[in-house]
Symmetry: C2
Subunit: 376 residues, 2 copies
């Protein structure tokens, strides 16, 4: 907290005051990164196999290859460097067994993609050396050099705040503390809300892919079976009814399939978004702790000055640093909120759209089945 | 089987040959009977209470009152008289506890109504003295007299066949046996089919009124809770999103109610119809046994004639009686099939119509919820 080390001019991170308060400076051109084309590679004459993904940066259209463990390296670097100022969500889980299975590779790729897009959208992370280098190295040598450089970076942990330059006036400590409390309260409440939704969603997923379609299948089979029995009556003039009942039965079997496949089309995305946010939110306790520790230090700084443990000058630097931390937290929260609003708006819309289509498809299928019943 | 007693002319039951084979003669005017207006009555100075229903016959528009135990008396009389020729379905279950509860009274009345309508629609049962008397007595005295008369009726059990007069030629024993076998096979298969559908329906009912709406409610609550958390962010410009999420949550709560109430609107009728048919079908084993016993008697009749146990004349009467039984069975099956086709067509149509409306209502509600989300 007392460090006086100043960052190289290149490493300055600015905070400006926008309509919604402190904000990061957003780069004028943005980019995304696609993660695609998983390929099995091998090392040590085929003794070790791994999956390599192709990462293509949208603004340069150039590609690099990375394995999961490289992503993991990047995650560690970002966490060490920015973790006290910016929530860096975890990567999708490591997994030992079944990691060459198609379904697993597809799911991991989808999540790595989401993670990379998320990082590309962050104005500070996306512009950092380590991130840029991860996407833009030209050859193995450049990658190795960049890697070593990132690992030697000293502007990490709480040092990151020494590189941040807010444009506003120094904040008063009461405001700093209130802002910190508000973020703590909000993120804890949202964490609960997100976990609640994830639990409900998981339960619903199980029902929709388990007992519910089985039941529709049973209804379908029972109707078809009844039609078969009816056909054996030997009574004339019921052919139309019986084929209609058979169709109704088949319709319920089709509904079973629709029900079973639906969660992939809607609940999946709702779950993924909430899963991502759960990842973000789990970063806040550490961030908040660092902030609170710094605030506590400032609070006792008068005593330290009085007992000559620190100078008045040093105290002022501490106060300024805490103010910077608060600016950073507010800038990050504004980034977080605007993303959150966009993400939840998109994903709930998608969910509702898909649900509407689902119910309309079922109604349409049932109408067709109904149309086959004879008028009596 | 050997009885020579001939019925009074009034009691003759004719069978004619129609397009679909042997058939009962349908009366030119039909009637139905409404069971309504359940009233609590009491006897013995209020010591014994009971529920009395008002039965109104549609062709005369006259009403009589009956208690459940009167229906039970009628059921017993019809079973004793016609039970070997015509399936007489059981009444709704007796119940000792809670029999004055509104819900129970309503359900019982609905089932007594269905049972009475079923009996009114049967050309033989509806025209019988005992049934007519049950609906048309003028006072307590007439009711008592009719009751005593019915209880003394001797044309019951296998004697009923002595009152039946088919217009066709005597049937050959091989055909009789085949028809009986076919009815046995069909009714057993339909019994399985109906029970299967009842089981599936019951399971589905439980899910639709239990865990499923609870889950939709949880989804609704989770969304509303998330919106509440979002509203506490202090970030500006998310009011529209948050009220949209709240509405989406409320929509899922409304869907929970729709899901929970739906079985009453569709599955209920499918279950009731199948329940009624289960009642019919449970009568067939006894009917089939009586037929098979008669057929077996005829089969050994040559031996009985040879050993002078019966005369040739008696044998011929037996053969004729079995032929009559077969005519009756065929006439009854034709009645059964035409009712079955009508009933299942109606009830599955109703089920599908209600299901379509259900899914369309949900889609409509979701569309309204979607419409509240802001464009971004």
């Amino acid at each position: 907290l007392l460090s006086k080390q100043t960052a190289k001019p290149k490493e300055k991170i600015s905070i400006i005051i926008g309509d919604y308060g402190p904000m990061w400076v957003y780069p004028t051109t943005t980019f995304d990164c696609t993660v695609a084309d998983p390929k099995k590679g091998s090392k040590m004459y085929g003794l070790k196999s791994y999956i390599e993904y192709q990462l293509t940066t949208t603004n340069t259209n150039r590609s690099v290859n990375h394995r999961y463990k490289h992503f993991d390296w990047l995650y560690e670097r970002l966490l060490v460097k920015f973790g006290l100022a910016i929530p860096i969500p975890s990567l999708p889980d490591k997994q030992v067994t079944g990691r060459f299975e198609e379904e697993f590779i597809k799911m991991r790729m989808e999540r790595l993609q989401a993670w990379m897009s998320r990082m590309c959208r962050h104005p500070v992370v996306s512009e950092s050396d380590v991130f840029q280098q991860f996407l833009n190295f030209r050859d193995e040598k450049e990658w190795k050099t960049g890697k070593r450089k990132a690992e030697k970076d000293e502007l990490v942990g709480s040092m990151i705040f020494s590189t941040i330059e807010p444009e506003g006036p120094e904040l008063d400590m009461i405001e700093v503390e209130q802002k910190c409390e508000a973020v703590s309260r909000f993120t804890r409440a949202m964490d609960d809300g997100v976990k609640d939704l994830l639990n409900v969603g998981q339960e619903h997923w199980k029902r929709c892919t388990g007992p519910l379609p089985k039941e529709y299948q049973k209804i379908g089979k029972a109707l078809q079976n009844l039609s078969l029995v009816f056909s054996s009556s030997g009574y004339q003039g019921e052919t139309d009814l019986n084929s209609a009942i058979t169709e109704a039965g088949k319709t319920y079997e089709a509904i079973a399939t629709l029900v079973e496949e639906q969660p992939r089309k809607d609940l999946h995305y709702l779950m993924e978004t909430n899963h991502e946010y759960k990842g973000f939110l789990s970063c806040f306790p550490d961030m908040i702790s660092a902030h609170k520790a710094a605030i506590d230090k400032v609070k006792e700084s008068d005593k330290l000055v009085a007992t000559s443990k620190i100078t008045q000058q040093e105290k002022l630097i501490m106060v300024k640093r805490v103010s910077t931390m608060s600016y950073a937290l507010q800038a990050e929260m504004n980034h977080f909120h605007s993303n959150r609003i966009y993400d939840y708006n998109s994903v709930i819309r998608l969910y509702l759209e898909q649900q509407i289509q689902f119910y309309e498809t079922i109604a349409e299928k049932l109408k067709q089945a109904l149309g086959r019943f004879p008028e009596m």
